[in-house]
């Protein structure tokens, strides 16, 4: 029951769609960020992904690694913020791991979502349960792993990962913030999703939406 692997052009389309989804969620993300931060997370990511979009469209991508490296470089340059630096590091690391890889099967997709979570955990020093982007990343990775282990193809792995990320982000609403400024104002943040976690849920949902039309309907 495995779906067709993702080629470079499908991956490019998925990343572009993910950027579009983040741009569409800009105001919602800013509003969530304003509860505990300075309220610019949506603007920062939307601006960063505008540059990602422009770069991906012209990037002569021979391999999947190049697309992720380009995504990371553009975010590093154009999304200066904690979330921007964390995501840039994660994408650069995924890019390194996918160097020379031309197709992504379900296991590869699960692995890259795991790499994202590992990178953010190491760089950000957070653990799951601390109301950060990592809560969505870990949940997305776990859901993707389960799907891939059951033999799902990449489109289905992404869809399951998106559902997992959404659940992980939703769970942050009940968590006590530990990191960053959010740690100072626990009461205000309670009941609202963490903006970074929500952003990852939006991003992975966009990836899944970007490949769905080309996915194997049998999966």
């Amino acid at each position: 029951m495995s779906g067709a692997p993702l080629g470079i052009d499908q991956l490019r389309a998925a990343l572009l769609a993910a950027g579009d989804h983040l741009a569409a969620a800009r105001d919602e993300l800013c509003e969530l960020d304003a509860v505990a931060g300075d309220g610019d997370l949506g603007v920062t990511l939307a601006a960063g992904f505008r540059h990602v979009d422009a770069a991906l469209r012209v990037a002569p991508a021979d391999d999947a690694g190049q697309l992720f490296r380009e995504t990371g470089l553009q975010l590093a340059r154009n999304a200066p913020s904690t979330i921007g630096a964390l995501l840039a590091s994660a994408f650069l690391r995924i890019g390194g791991e996918l160097t020379g890889v031309g197709e992504l099967d379900g296991a590869r997709v699960a692995a890259l979502l795991q790499t994202a979570a590992t990178s953010v955990a190491e760089r950000g020093g957070a653990e799951p349960g601390q109301r950060t982007v990592l809560d969505a990343m870990a949940a997305a990775s776990a859901a993707a792993r389960t799907a891939a282990d059951a033999g799902a193809g990449p489109a289905d792995v992404l869809r399951r990962a998106a559902d997992g990320a959404a659940e992980g982000a939703a769970a942050t609403a009940a968590m006590e913030p530990v990191h960053g400024r959010a740690g100072w104002i626990a009461e205000r943040a309670r009941g609202r999703e963490d903006a970074g976690a929500r952003a990852w849920a939006v991003f992975v949902d966009g990836l899944a939406a970007g490949v769905t039309p080309l996915a194997d309907p049998q999966v």
Partner: protein, 343 residues
């Protein structure tokens, strides 16, 4: 007549547009020291050594938030750091700035990132290292985590970096000047900072020009032992004590943390946080000296002055470096003074 409250009282500061404060101070710095410092053409908050003497040896990059002069940019100089990324007040510079500085100072032997252990700085320097690696520049990292007040010994790697980073600049700069390779410079600077402990005390707060009121309050007549450079909570607050007691407490807490098994040879740095005069720092050193002498430690070198400040915060910190033969030799090497003491 209504009484003016502290929150709305005008700042007693010489500033222009608060948002321009950092750019203007960097401009003033390079105008004042054109032989020593220059700004990068495409990165005005990237400052490197004006003599451009980076070829054939490991270069040292630093950076961090503004508001701590001479830390960080004031340690760009001979025998110290080669380049610095200047952040906003108390805020990390961006990875892009750091990459620009890295490219400007890399002489082909790699670049050591030497900075204080704060979350934002770590994130951006790590990302800058990724970006540099993608361009074929080798980077190693050493973080100052010398503030014993900021975490217990079992979590020493999570401690904040404070004035003790000065010893890191001296050791790294001297080691790089010997032509040692990147791994050696990083290991040597790392060893020096692992053998450095600091403890501070604050008696008043500071005002960020962009904020316009004190960041926090220390009530008159009180002091906070262990307060961080940005007003992070310390280990105890109590009545303001005399210089003898303050020096003894700071030195005592550092020595407790070291837990030496016998007399050592040390270097000592007594640092003013911005508004405490040199006279008072000398009184504190006098007390620290007595504590060290009583324990049988030999003081090889003493530095008293402003090395890591927090704008106009009143307070002081003590840093102690446990020397060995190699570190003593490197610390004795000639180096430029901190830029605020340079003529």
């Amino acid at each position: 007549m209504t009484e003016t409250t502290g929150a709305t009282a005008p700042m007693r500061k010489f500033i222009n547009d608060p948002e321009a404060f950092v750019d203007e101070l960097v401009e003033g710095l390079v105008l004042a020291h054109p032989q020593r410092l220059r700004r990068l053409a495409d990165e005005p908050r990237g400052v490197v050594r004006a003599d451009g003497d980076f070829a054939g040896r490991v270069a040292i990059a630093t950076g961090g938030g503004s508001g701590h002069l001479p830390l960080f940019v004031g340690y760009v100089g001979r025998g110290l750091a080669d380049g610095c990324s200047v952040g906003n007040l108390f805020a990390s510079p961006s990875s892009d700035q750091m990459l620009g500085v890295t490219q400007a100072i890399d002489g082909g032997e790699g670049v050591l990132y030497l900075y204080g252990n704060y979350g934002g700085d770590r994130l951006n320097f790590d990302l800058a290292a990724d970006l540099a690696a993608a361009e074929g520049i080798r980077v190693a990292t050493v973080r100052a985590a010398d503030d014993v007040a900021s975490a217990p010994p079992e979590r020493a790697s999570s401690r904040r970096g404070v004035a003790g980073i000065y010893f890191g600049y001296r050791i790294a700069g001297a080691c790089a000047a010997t032509g040692a390779d990147l791994d050696t410079v990083a290991a040597t600077a790392g060893r020096a900072l692992e053998r450095t402990r600091s403890m501070g005390v604050a008696v008043s707060s500071c005002i960020l020009p962009t904020v316009g009121r004190p960041n926090f309050e220390v009530p008159a007549g009180e002091m906070e032992i262990g307060m961080g450079l940005h007003g992070e909570p310390g280990v105890r607050r109590g009545p303001l004590l005399g210089a003898d007691d303050v020096g003894a407490e700071l030195a005592g807490r550092i020595l407790d943390d070291f837990a030496f098994d016998g007399p050592q040879e040390v270097a000592v740095l007594v640092n003013g946080l911005g508004a405490t005069p040199a006279e008072e720092l000398l009184l504190i050193y006098r007390s620290v000296h007595a504590v060290l002498a009583a324990a049988g430690h030999r003081v090889h070198r003493v530095l008293v002055g402003e090395y890591a400040t927090s704008l106009e915060m009143a307070g002081a910190s003590v840093s102690i470096l446990q020397l060995d033969d190699e570190l003593r030799g490197l610390l004795d090497a000639d180096a430029d003074p901190p830029i605020t003491m340079a003529g």
